[in-house]
Symmetry: C2
């Protein structure tokens, strides 16, 4: 079985199992499910999230790193209290775009450093070829996502998968470095540090700390619903 | 002073000092100069090279890894005998495209693993900001060139330069790996192995083995002339 790494999403090209990676911070939001949320709904932006939210659900999102007016949460992985028994509708541009690109794959999972081993194992259980779909940042490939794809790829390799294509190898070589310095060098991390959310980077850089893997359940309008 | 890394050439954007990197194999051709060639002329392809060659000069080039009819050399860095006192006109698509993209920079140097330290020092002597221009392969970024940019970048950093932009950091993290496994994972290397030229990869993967840095002297028609 093989795995590939796409530095940017290639919409409509995915068939087997897609692991979407937007490590700072959309796919690290597996933490909401771990903390007891019933579902995670990815929405393209703040307006889309407001429109998708149903009664009793929480809104998470950020503009310039901070929650927009009327939002309950700010997309910070350190801010997961009060989600028990509720769905979280999360506004996130790059991560949602990447997840949409993966529609067509038989299975869509959300991967991060925190669930790297778990998402690799879940992908193996599907018995399909694996595509690691990096979200990137506004159409540019992102160091943090490629690195995370490499860390997950390393675990896939240990489970018997072979890297296919040059970008899979590139990601694997990146993954030989420790996580915090790499993530800290990314533009996404620098943007968070710039708005005082540097501790989010440290949280996103934690590797293999839980086993919750969000998997795609279905659409709610334009929103994509994930469950644990 | 800063340095940037472009995974693919951005024609017309370069001002200060550009280091062009096409490690397998165009920019490793610094070896011709080291072996005593008087100049290296980069040409876009076999026809262009034939048209540019003057009396007494040698033609180097490859189609599918091997020299075309009438060519003296096959672009192999292990094949540098007989070049003493002669100019070598070298047909190479990606490397020449990248070098053309760098026109406009005040200084254009050719960088490889073999002259990594030397090209970094030469770049510092120019007193300008440095752009590492990776050639890539047919419009796709290439692992071997990004890695080499990282190895040169590491030396620039030691000389007091700061990495600017996410791709400079990515290249630096790649450069923490040993050269031969990385180069061997590239498509360029696999293509050479496929035509029986795997030993060229090992030659291109040698780091800091000489001090010859080709620098751009001027145009000969469409050809770019480099001297040591």
């Amino acid at each position: 079985m093989r795995f590939r790494v796409d530095p940017l999403p290639l919409p409509g090209t995915y068939r087997g199992t897609a692991i979407v990676v937007d490590v700072i911070r959309a796919t690290t939001a597996a933490l909401y499910l771990k903390a007891g949320a019933t579902a995670l709904v990815l929405a393209r932006g703040a307006e889309a999230a407001r429109a998708l939210r149903q009664d009793g659900e929480l809104l998470a999102g950020e503009v310039g790193g901070l929650p927009p007016e009327g939002f309950d949460l700010g997309n910070s992985p350190r801010e997961v209290n009060g989600v028990v028994g509720k769905a979280v509708v999360m506004a996130t541009t790059n991560g949602t775009r990447a997840a949409h690109a993966a529609l067509g794959a038989r299975h869509i999972l959300l991967g991060s450093l925190q669930n790297a081993q778990a998402v690799a194992e879940k992908a193996r259980e599907t018995g399909e070829e694996v595509h690691l779909v990096c979200a990137g940042k506004e159409g540019q490939m992102a160091l943090d996502d490629l690195y995370t794809a490499g860390v997950i790829g390393k675990r896939l390799k240990a489970l018997g998968f072979s890297p296919e294509g040059e970008m899979a190898h590139l990601a694997l070589f990146l993954a030989e470095n420790p996580s915090f310095p790499v993530l800290s060098s990314s533009e996404a991390a620098k943007a968070l540090v710039g708005v005082g959310l540097g501790e989010d980077v440290a949280e996103c850089a934690r590797v293999d700390v839980h086993g919750v893997v969000p998997r795609f359940l279905g659409m709610r309008g334009e929103g994509m619903v994930f469950g644990g």
